[in-house]
């Protein structure tokens, strides 16, 4: 049986302004030949820092950003090859939850209309059925029916995120792309939304493509995890293996950097892996490993030759010198 989503060599390039009139137009390689698969009923987490291309990857996979190359097989059918009309029809299977609960809902529409809109657009059911479905969705995500006629600004951040989830579920999608769905929320509210997402996944058999910069959140929600750095996947694998025995120095650095209750100032903690500097910009040509500039383990080989993503132990790693931290 084919995977629900099979992304092969996906690339995205953005054209930049020319530096001078006759110079060739430079391109920003936001996503470089990224491949991953997502099985039915599972959640794949894509983690990375800003500029890693994690959101662009997901948006290109569902054709909200134009891809420069590659294939996106959804249920065996290449989404990148569909015409506009066929893609619009496909959208009922693929939905999206956004990061910012304040800008993802049209401030001038009542929330019941927001949740109903996907069904209106795709002409699913009769108007009465749609209204009933809105009621079901409100209950499903934990909103009260008497809140249906309110406007988005009358809700708190967590409740708006529930509305966003209800809208995404309106068309019974099979794949839900979650783009940092809790990073704009307070911790206490975060837990409410994460629990809701976990419950919906189990009850409705949803598959998530889950974008986040927060390792703890990804740990909690995802079955598989891919770590991205400057447009490439540097390590991917099952959750436990990736978090417990990370092989790539960048994954190790991310884990060491995540604030943790286990590290106490009183006990004078020392980070096991430290990286210096910020990620370089993704513009221009690059030879060698994307992480070479910040890697504690860097050697000459890393600057000249880009490592390929290969199975090394429990995870797939793109590193010439993988292994546990020194």
């Amino acid at each position: 049986m084919t995977a629900l989503l099979d992304v092969r060599d996906l690339s995205v390039r953005f054209a930049m302004p020319r530096p001078s009139l006759f110079a060739p137009r430079p391109h920003l390689e936001a996503v470089r030949q990224v491949s991953f698969t997502l099985e039915r009923g599972e959640a794949l987490g894509i983690v990375g820092e800003s500029g890693s291309g994690k959101t662009t990857t997901a948006m290109a996979a569902i054709r909200l950003v134009n891809a420069a190359g590659g294939q996106v097989l959804f249920d065996g059918e290449d989404l990148l090859g569909l015409d506009e009309k066929a893609m619009r029809a496909r959208r009922r299977d693929i939905q999206l939850i956004f990061q910012d609960p304040y800008s993802s809902l049209d401030p001038r529409a009542r929330v019941a209309d927001i949740v109903r809109e996907p069904m209106d657009l795709m002409q699913i059911g009769t108007p009465a059925e749609r209204r009933r479905r809105v009621g079901e969705l409100f209950e499903l995500v934990g909103l009260r029916p008497d809140q249906m006629n309110l406007f988005p600004h009358q809700f708190s951040g967590g409740q708006r995120q529930r509305i966003s989830i209800a809208r995404a579920l309106a068309t019974h999608p099979r794949l839900v792309v979650c783009d940092e769905p809790v990073s704009a929320l307070d911790v206490a509210i975060q837990a409410q939304i994460l629990n809701l997402l976990a419950r919906l996944k189990a009850e409705l058999g949803l598959s998530y493509l889950f974008i986040s910069h927060d390792l703890g959140v990804v740990w909690h929600v995802c079955d598989h995890v891919a770590v991205m750095y400057l447009g490439q996947i540097v390590e991917s694998g099952p959750r436990d293996a990736l978090f417990e025995t990370p092989q790539h120095p960048y994954t190790q650095a991310l884990l060491a950097a995540a604030p943790s209750l286990a590290r106490r100032k009183s006990r004078g903690y020392v980070r096991p892996v430290k990286v210096s500097g910020d990620p370089a910009g993704p513009i221009g040509q690059r030879t060698g490993c994307p992480f070479a500039g910040r890697c504690p383990r860097v050697r000459d080989l890393c600057r000249d030759t880009a490592p390929a993503l290969t199975r090394q132990g429990p995870t797939d790693v793109a590193c010439h010198f993988p292994g546990p931290p020194d």
């Binding site: 001038r108 657009l121 309110l150 600004h153 009358q154 809208r167």
Partner: protein, 302 residues
């Protein structure tokens, strides 16, 4: 820096427990507007001007072109011509009451033309970007650098002065501002996530432009439309003053234009229509400012 009041504001605005009152953004804007005293004064003044223009003739008859008294009769001297007469002996009150309609009609139609051209081109440029944007913005700039008054004068002299040609001329020279404003709003809003959300549920471009972005871009456009009416009224008056108005229709501008040579001998034939124009434009500006305050969410809660 985080605004210190921001800590209290979201809780106050989004409290779910008390948010039982269904208040739409438009309703909330109206509530803000209705508490704004200068804006209400503007509404009152404009209503007064409109009522006088529409129904004034029912109570105060008389042809504004008819010579009814001796020329240069000062105001408040003769009961049958309360505000005096002009250089030909025509009744100024009759002129004021009749002259409002063409001035306001031209103002409103010119504003309408401005909005239609400006919003259409601005939204296309802002939404599609790329070469569409480039082309439309170059056209906009071309119109923007034309000296507006001269261009309007040329248009009016080419196509014989009538109310319609004047309205079109004003519309054609004043749309670029609206186009730029619309484009800027579209550029901002199209990056917001609810627009991506609309695309993700398969909405077409036309729907996104009209149903999603435009309503959210409306507040500054409404304000700008209001202010455009004021500008258009002034423009019409200016053209008439220069003798380019329709000579067969009495308007405030025409009254000023016809009497301008005798201004030093008799102040009243130009002052009263001037005051009428001033009050109209002032009222419209007050309303525009009030709408701006009411529709601009950043000012809410003050």
């Amino acid at each position: 820096m985080k605004q210190p009041t921001a800590e209290t504001a979201p809780a106050a605005a989004g409290d779910p427990a008390t948010a039982q009152r269904v208040e739409s953004p438009a309703r909330e804007a109206w509530r803000m507007f209705s508490r704004n005293v200068p804006a209400l004064l503007g509404v009152f003044l404009l209503a007064l001007v409109l009522l006088a223009t529409l129904y004034g003739k029912l109570f105060y008859g008389g042809d504004p072109f008819e010579i009814v008294w001796a020329p240069y009769e000062p105001p408040l001297t003769t009961p049958s011509v309360p505000l005096g007469t002009d250089y030909l002996g025509r009744d100024i009150v009759a002129g004021l009451l009749t002259g409002g309609a063409p001035t306001l009609t031209v103002g409103a139609s010119a504003a309408l033309i401005t909005m239609v051209i400006g919003i259409s081109l601005g939204s296309l440029a802002g939404y599609y970007g790329g070469w569409v944007d480039n082309l439309l913005m170059r056209i906009t700039e071309f119109f923007q650098v034309l000296p507006a008054l001269l261009f309007a004068m040329v248009l009016v002299t080419l196509f014989s002065p009538s109310l319609w040609t004047i309205a079109i001329a004003i519309g054609v020279v004043s749309w670029p501002q609206t186009a730029r404003l619309t484009r800027a709003e579209f550029l901002r809003i199209k990056e917001l996530e609810y627009v991506t959300a609309a695309r993700a549920i398969g909405a077409r471009n036309r729907r996104i432009i009209w149903k999603v972005i435009l309503p959210n871009a409306a507040p500054p456009l409404i304000v700008s439309a209001t202010l455009t009416i004021g500008v258009a009224v002034l423009f019409e008056a200016g053209l008439s003053f220069l003798g380019l108005g329709d000579p067969n229709v009495m308007s405030w501008g025409l009254m000023i234009g016809a009497n301008r040579d005798y201004m030093l001998d008799a102040w009243w034939p130009v002052t009263f229509p001037g005051l009428a124009i001033f009050v109209t434009v002032f009222a419209v500006s007050l309303i525009g400012d009030g709408l701006n305050d009411a529709l601009n969410p950043k000012l809410r809660g003050r």
